[in-house]
Symmetry: C2
Subunit: 461 residues, 2 copies
C-alpha cells in the first residue's frame, strides 16, 4: 500500500530502528550522572551530536537537540529575537514558511513586535531582492525555509543569506524538508530541522546556532543542551535520529536522481490524463520527491478518500481538508488554485510501478468526484447567451461549488459579458481568479456585499 | 550491576519496550491526516490518552502529552499564571520543588511576578498551615510536589488542595516521583508527570488541566494536543508511556510493600554500620523505594566514585557533585547535612541480595574516603584545652574540609568555649549547623567578614 506523504512524516528508516533499539538498552540513563550508566549515555549523546553536526555543517557545540522541529523553530526564533532586542523588533519571514515559523511570528507580533512577510512568485519562490527590500533598519531576524513543504520549491537560501549578511541580520533557515537530501548551502546563522521528516523517529528536532549569534533562550532556565532545550534528553531517539541522518545522506544523491524522474513523470502525466488540472511549484528548482497539483471542480477531501480507498495516502492543501476551512497559506501566497489540491511526496524506495499505479487510479478518482458533483464533461453551454451579465447566489456553498456554478454560468453570457458570483466561502477569493487564469477569462475584481463578497469575471472567449 | 538511581531515570519497562516497538510500525504517521496510516495513528493516540487519563484520574480531554515532565511543568505553570492574570501575579511554591518548578517560578519573577516559597520542616514536608498563610490575595497559582525527589518525603497534597480550594486558588501538583505508585489524592487542578520516571521511555510528559481551570498557553499557537503542547506527537513513545504506566500500576501495591521493607533495612542499617551518618526525610510518610542519608567528613563525589567502582549507581545532593558547587536546595531547605550525601532509589525488582550487597560495600567506601581525607576514627583530642576560643582559617577549602577542621578543633577549647570557622564555601552555612545538631554542640551564628563568613560554634560536651 503506497504511502506518498513522506513530507508529513516518513516511516522509520531501518537504521533508525536499529539504533533506537540498541540505545534503549544503552542510553536510558541521565547523561549528567557520574556513574557508568550515565557516562555511557553521555558518550552516546556526544557521538550523536558530532554526527548530526557534521551532517548539518556546524560545530558540535553549536547544535542542540530539541523535542521536535516545531520546538527548534519556536526556540530559535524567540532566542534570536530576544538576544537581538537592542537591534530592533522587526522580524522578516517569507509568506510560505511552515506554520511553526508563522505561529512564532504571530506570537512576536502579539507581544508588540513587527512582522514583515516577503511575497513569493507564482512558483512559490522568494527573491533575494524581496528580502533586501524587507530588511529595514531595526530588523532582528530573517527566516527562510530551505524548500517549501507544500509545493517543493527550493528557495534561494544562499543569495538571501548574502543579502542578510550585508544588512547584518542573522538568517534562520528552516531546513525541515531538505536536510535529509543535503546540507543547507550559504551563510545561515540559525538552522532548524526535524528528524521524522528524514526517516528518524518522532521526538527529535535540531537547532543549530552559529557562534557569535546573540541568543537568549526564552524558556525557564535548564542546564541541559547548553540551556537551549529544557527537559530530559530523549537519548534513544536522538541516537536514532543522528544515525539515520547519516544513512539517508549516504544514499541521498542516487535516491534524489531516481525520485526526480518519477516526480517528473507525475508532473507531465497528470495534466495529460485529466482536464482542468494545474501542477504548482517550480519544475526544476524543487525537492526531488515532491509534486503538488490542483484539480478544478473537485472537493479535496472526497478525492483524498477516493485515493485512500484505492490504497494511496497523499496530502492536500485544500480548504475542505483543514479544520479551519481555509486553504493552505502557501497556495494562497502563490495565487494558485487550491481546490482539489493533492500533494504527493514519495518516500525513498518508491518504485516506478507504484507511481504508475497511482497514475492509473488518479483519473478515475478525480472523474468520480466530479461526477458526484455533477461536473462530468464540459458544462452544457446554451446555444445563445441569456443575458449580458449574470449574478449567481452561491452563499452558503462551500468549495468547489462556487467555482462549479461559475463554470456553468459563463456560457450564459456573451464574450465581453460578466458573471458575478456572490460567495461567503473564503476560498473563492483564491480559486475564482485561479479559475480565470486557467480558463482564459478575465478576473474583474471583488466588492463587499452585506452578505459575502461579489467576485466578477468577464467572459473572454 | 545494581542501578539504584531510578529517581533520576528508570530503565525501560518490558511493557514499554514492547509497546514502543509495536507502535514504531503502527504509529509513525501524522494522526491529523485522513488516510489509513493517519487514522491508525489517531486511534493509538486516543487509546493512549484514555489509558493515561484513567491512571491519572482525569478525563481524556483534560490530558495532553508533552515532550518531557519539564515541559509539562513549564507549560502548566505559565499557562495557569497567564490564564489567571486577572486574579493576580502571585505564585506560591514549596521550597523543595523540583528544579523545573523553581525555574518556572524564577522566570515568573524575572517577568515581574511575585513568588512565595513555603518552608518545610526538617523531614522535608510542607504543612497545610504553611500554604494557608502563603495564599494571600492575588495568588494566581500554588504548586506542590506529590513527593520529594531527593528525600522521598510524601507531601500532604490533599490537605493543601483543600486549603487552596478554600482560597479559590488552583493547585498544580508535580507528580513526577509518585505517579507510578498510584494516583494523586485530593482536589488538584493541574497535574504533571514524566514517563521515564516510571519505566516509560524518555520523551513523554503528562499535563492534566481540570475543566474550569483558566489556562492560556504561552507558546506560539499549535493545533495539536488541544493547543497545549506544540510539535509533532512522539506517538511510539506516548503509546509506550501509557502502556507501561498501566503495567507498573498493576504491580505497584505489591512492589511498594516489598521495596518498603528493603528501604527500611537501609534506613536502620546505615546508621549502625558507620559513625556520623544521618538519614534524612520522613521514615513513614515517604516513597516506598527511596532513601537518602548524609555522611559527615565525606566528599560526595569521591563516595559516588567508590560506590560506582564497587558496582552501585547512586545519586547525591552534595555540592561537590553539582556543577554549581552548591548543595541541593532540598537539603538546604530542610536544614540537614549535605556533605557525603547519598540518594538510593531502588528500581522495581530490586532484590534483598542486591541491597545487602550495597550495605556490605558502603561502610568500606565511606571509611576509604574518610581515610584519604585524614579522618579515620574520632579526631585526636588534646589532653587539655589550649584556648577558650579558637578561630580557624578555612578560606579556600571546599566541603567537607571546613567541617573536618571544625571537628578537629572542637576538642582544643573547653566546654563553653567557642570555635569560629572562617569559610568562603557556601555549604558551610548548611553543614556547620547540621554538624552541631549531630554532635550535640551549640551553633552560635554567623557574621560576615571581609573575606568569607565566620561561623561560630560553642562546645557543649
Amino acid at each position: 500500500m503506497p504511502y506518498f506523504d513522506t513530507a508529513s512524516a516518513a516511516p522509520l528508516h531501518p537504521v533508525a530502528r536499529q539504533a533506537l533499539q540498541a540505545s534503549l538498552d544503552e542510553g536510558w540513563a541521565d547523561p549528567a550522572r557520574l556513574y557508568r550508566e550515565g557516562r555511557r549515555a553521555r558518550l552516546l549523546l556526544d557521538a550523536a551530536r558530532e554526527a548530526a553536526a557534521e551532517a548539518v555543517g556546524c560545530r558540535p557545540d553549536e547544535l542542540v537537540f530539541t523535542p521536535s522541529g516545531t520546538h527548534a523553530v519556536h526556540t530559535g526564533v524567540a532566542g534570536v529575537l530576544a538576544g537581538r532586542r537592542r537591534a530592533g523588533s522587526r522580524l522578516v519571514v517569507s509568506a510560505v514558511e511552515h506554520s511553526s515559523v508563522l505561529h512564532a511570528a504571530a506570537a512576536h507580533a502579539a507581544a508588540g513586535g513587527s512582522v514583515v512577510e516577503v511575497a513569493v512568485d507564482r512558483l512559490g519562490a522568494v527573491s533575494a531582492a524581496g528580502y533586501r527590500a524587507a530588511l529595514a533598519e531595526g530588523t532582528a531576524l530573517a527566516c527562510l525555509q530551505s524548500a517549501n513543504h507544500e509545493v517543493g520549491t527550493v528557495q534561494p537560501v544562499a543569495e538571501v543569506a548574502g543579502v542578510c549578511a550585508e544588512a547584518g541580520v542573522p538568517l534562520l533557515v528552516d531546513a525541515a524538508q531538505s536536510l535529509g537530501w543535503g546540507p543547507v548551502e550559504g551563510g545561515w546563522s540559525v538552522l532548524t530541522a526535524s528528524a521524522h521528516k528524514w526517516g528518524g523517529p518522532p521526538g527529535v528536532g535540531l537547532l543549530a546556532v552559529r557562534k557569535g549569534v546573540r541568543f537568549a533562550p526564552q524558556h525557564p532556565a535548564d542546564e541541559r543542551e547548553s540551556g537551549r532545550s529544557p527537559g530530559f534528553a530523549n537519548l534513544p531517539a536522538i541516537v536514532a535520529a543522528a544515525a539515520s541522518l547519516r544513512a539517508v545522506r549516504a544514499g541521498a544523491e542516487a535516491e534524489a536522481a531516481r525520485l526526480r524522474v518519477l516526480v517528473d513523470r507525475i508532473r507531465r502525466r497528470v495534466v495529460r490524463l485529466m482536464p482542468d488540472v494545474e501542477v504548482v511549484g517550480d519544475a526544476d528548482r524543487r525537492l526531488p520527491h515532491l509534486v503538488t497539483f490542483s484539480c478544478l471542480y473537485v472537493d479535496g477531501e472526497s478525492l483524498l478518500h477516493e485515493l485512500d480507498r484505492a490504497g494511496f495516502s497523499v496530502s492536500s492543501g485544500s480548504s475542505c481538508t483543514s479544520s479551519t476551512l481555509t486553504p493552505s497559506h502557501v497556495l494562497r501566497a502563490m495565487g494558485v488554485l487550491s481546490e482539489g489540491n493533492v500533494r504527493v511526496s514519495l518516500p525513498p524506495g518508491t518504485t516506478a510501478e507504484e507511481v504508475n499505479g497511482f497514475l492509473e487510479v488518479l483519473p478515475g478518482a478525480v472523474a468520480g468526484v466530479r461526477e458526484r458533483l455533477g461536473v462530468s464533461g464540459p458544462p452544457a453551454v446554451p446555444a445563445e447567451p441569456v443575458a449580458d451579465s449574470v449574478e449567481l447566489d452561491a452563499l452558503g456553498l462551500r468549495c468547489p461549488q462556487p467555482v462549479i456554478e461559475l463554470a456553468r454560468a459563463i456560457g450564459t453570457v456573451p464574450v465581453g459579458g460578466t458573471v458575478t458570483v456572490l460567495s461567503d466561502d473564503e476560498v473563492a477569493r483564491l480559486d475564482i481568479p485561479a479559475w480565470c487564469a486557467m480558463r482564459g477569462h478575465a478576473y474583474v475584481g471583488e466588492s463587499p456585499r452585506p452578505a459575502g463578497t461579489a467576485y466578477t469575471v468577464r467572459r473572454v472567449r
